[in-house]
């Protein structure tokens, strides 16, 4: 490789100067901003009592074991419902692509389902499923965590199946044409050609929904399941100190961060690939 010309070296030096300068500016502005917020919050008249009831290190430490035990339930519910949502929503999305009059009732039923459960607040679905279904007396007694999972699956499948449907529609029709021209049957072309490409297109959106599910699993506490939020609530009621809630909240954040970072990384990679090395 030949050495860069003097012109190029001067340009590189200029860019390096510019980027050093912007780093210093951003560090300074971050510090000033953080200091302003800190001073602003601490100087409020009620800060002392807020600090005592939300940021008590002793309370936090005492809450950790039970909150962590509860979090384990959240994690199990999270992965169980994510797996069910994935399978069911692919199935529903595929059903919605069916043409032909025979399938009209099926298509209509899926459409009504997705409309209904995307509109209905999750909390209400949780109450309906968690208190309504057991009251039927038809099913064997199940723990609250189970019904919470069912409610989450019902709500999230409605969202995620729409994501899949959009992904499948985004695969160019010529791909389906090529698959069918080879003699592949409808379901084969869906499974072997359309779905794998759709999955790639919607992965960032799916990861985002997973992050959202990650914190919504905390809502199963309203059914009485002793998850991280419920465990914190129990702890709070012992001393009337809200710090355990903060501990539970932090746990959820820590749980979500890896997935959030992964989503960002994956989206950035996709974007890089699509813009093919251009700078804008």
């Amino acid at each position: 490789m030949t050495a860069p010309s003097a012109l190029e070296l001067e340009r590189r030096a200029y860019r390096a100067r510019r980027s050093r300068r912007s780093i210093w500016v951003s560090i300074a502005s971050t510090l000033v901003f953080a200091a302003l917020i800190w001073v602003g919050v601490v100087s409020t008249p009620g800060w002392h009592s807020v600090q005592q009831s939300f940021f008590d290190p002793g309370e936090a430490w005492r809450a950790v074991p039970s909150v962590l035990a509860g979090l384990w339930l959240n994690i199990r519910v999270l992965f169980a419902s994510a797996a069910c949502v994935l399978v069911l929503s692919i199935l529903l999305a595929a059903l919605r692509t069916l043409r032909g009059a025979v399938f009209f009732p099926l298509r209509a039923a899926v459409a009504i389902y997705t409309d209904l459960f995307r509109g209905l607040p999750l909390l209400i679905v949780l109450y309906l499923v968690g208190f309504g279904i057991p009251a039927l007396g038809f099913f064997p007694r199940m723990p609250a965590g189970f019904w919470g999972t069912v409610a989450l699956v019902i709500t999230y499948t409605a969202y995620v199946s729409e994501v899949f449907r959009a992904g499948m529609e985004a695969v160019h029709p010529s791909q389906r044409l090529a698959a069918r021209s080879l003699g592949l049957r409808y379901w084969q072309s869906l499974r072997l050609v359309v779905l794998p490409q759709a999955l790639r297109k919607v992965t960032p959106a799916l990861m985002n929904d997973f992050v959202s599910l990650q914190k919504d699993v905390g809502l199963i506490s309203v059914l009485g399941a002793v998850d991280a939020v419920r465990a914190a609530q129990i702890q709070v009621s012992l001393n009337y100190n809200f710090t355990p809630y903060l501990v539970a909240g932090l746990c959820f954040v820590v749980l979500a961060v890896p997935m959030i970072r992964l989503t960002d990384w994956y989206s950035a990679r996709l974007a890089r690939r699509e813009q093919m090395g251009s700078v804008v």
Partner: protein
């Protein structure tokens, strides 16, 4: 003469626009027929009708003695016996070259993965793309992609090969390698129905040239006679416009 493919009175409209206005055409075994005509003359639609990717409005399509336009016929089974190559290759971007080539063999013709791969690799070797078998389509040039698409259509030994303007989307310097492959297919006795804009190629490779205009067959004949002494006024005008009539 028993025709491999026989079309009688094929009609097809899209809305009010009649694209095929009664087409009669026969292909013998091992025959190569070139469909020529301006854009919108119905060439591509005719090919898609033969492969049952479009439903015809009237007429009959008989393949090897079987009426495939009968709605009781299993369309997927018919498509499995006909190979199609599209203008824009339509390779599957999420599958490697070898998986593109063997998809139909494995899932339609139920060949074992090992057999399908062996056969696919042998075909890819023959067209000089054996080294690309594990690559993904976006790493290949347009000409290479189109050759892979041809191999994908051939790997299951179809009775009939349909080529839909397979060089139209290629850069000029890549056209040659694709046409060479078609030439060698003709030598092996493949029955081919192709829509093309390459007049020189049609003259060289086709046993018969069929000129379509406004959804009807205006004129057909052996290439030399067709290009050198066209009889119909419309044919003459078309060929003059293309500047293909000299020689």
């Amino acid at each position: 003469m028993s025709a491999l493919l026989s079309l009688t009175g094929i009609r097809k409209s899209f809305g009010d626009h009649e694209v095929l206005a009664g087409i009669d055409l026969e292909l013998a075994q091992h025959e190569v027929v070139a469909l020529i005509g301006a854009s919108g003359s119905g060439k591509s639609t005719l090919l898609r009708c033969v492969n049952l990717l479009e439903r015809i409005d009237d007429g009959r399509i008989v393949l090897a003695g079987e009426d495939i336009s009968d709605p009781r016929v299993d369309a997927d089974g018919v498509r499995a016996r006909i190979g199609v190559v599209f203008q824009h290759y339509n390779l599957f971007p999420h599958l490697s070259v070898i998986d593109n080539v063997t998809l139909a063999a494995r899932h339609v013709h139920r060949m074992s993965k090992a057999d399908a791969t062996a056969k696919g690799l042998a075909l890819l070797e023959r067209i000089g793309l054996g080294a690309k078998a594990r690559d993904y389509p976006d790493r290949l040039s347009g000409g290479q992609q189109q050759r892979v698409a041809i191999v994908r259509a051939l790997v299951t030994d179809p009775a009939l090969l349909l080529l839909d303007e397979i060089t139209s989307a290629l850069d000029p310097e890549l056209v040659g390698e694709v046409l060479d492959l078609v030439r060698s297919l003709k030598e092996q006795g493949t029955t081919i129905l192709m829509a093309t804009h390459e007049m020189d190629f049609a003259r060289e490779v086709a046993d018969r040239v069929v000129f379509l205009d406004a959804g009807t067959i205006v004129e057909q004949g052996a290439p030399d006679a067709f290009f050198d002494h066209p009889e119909q006024e419309r044919t003459k005008r078309f060929l003059t416009r293309l500047g293909a009539r000299r020689r």
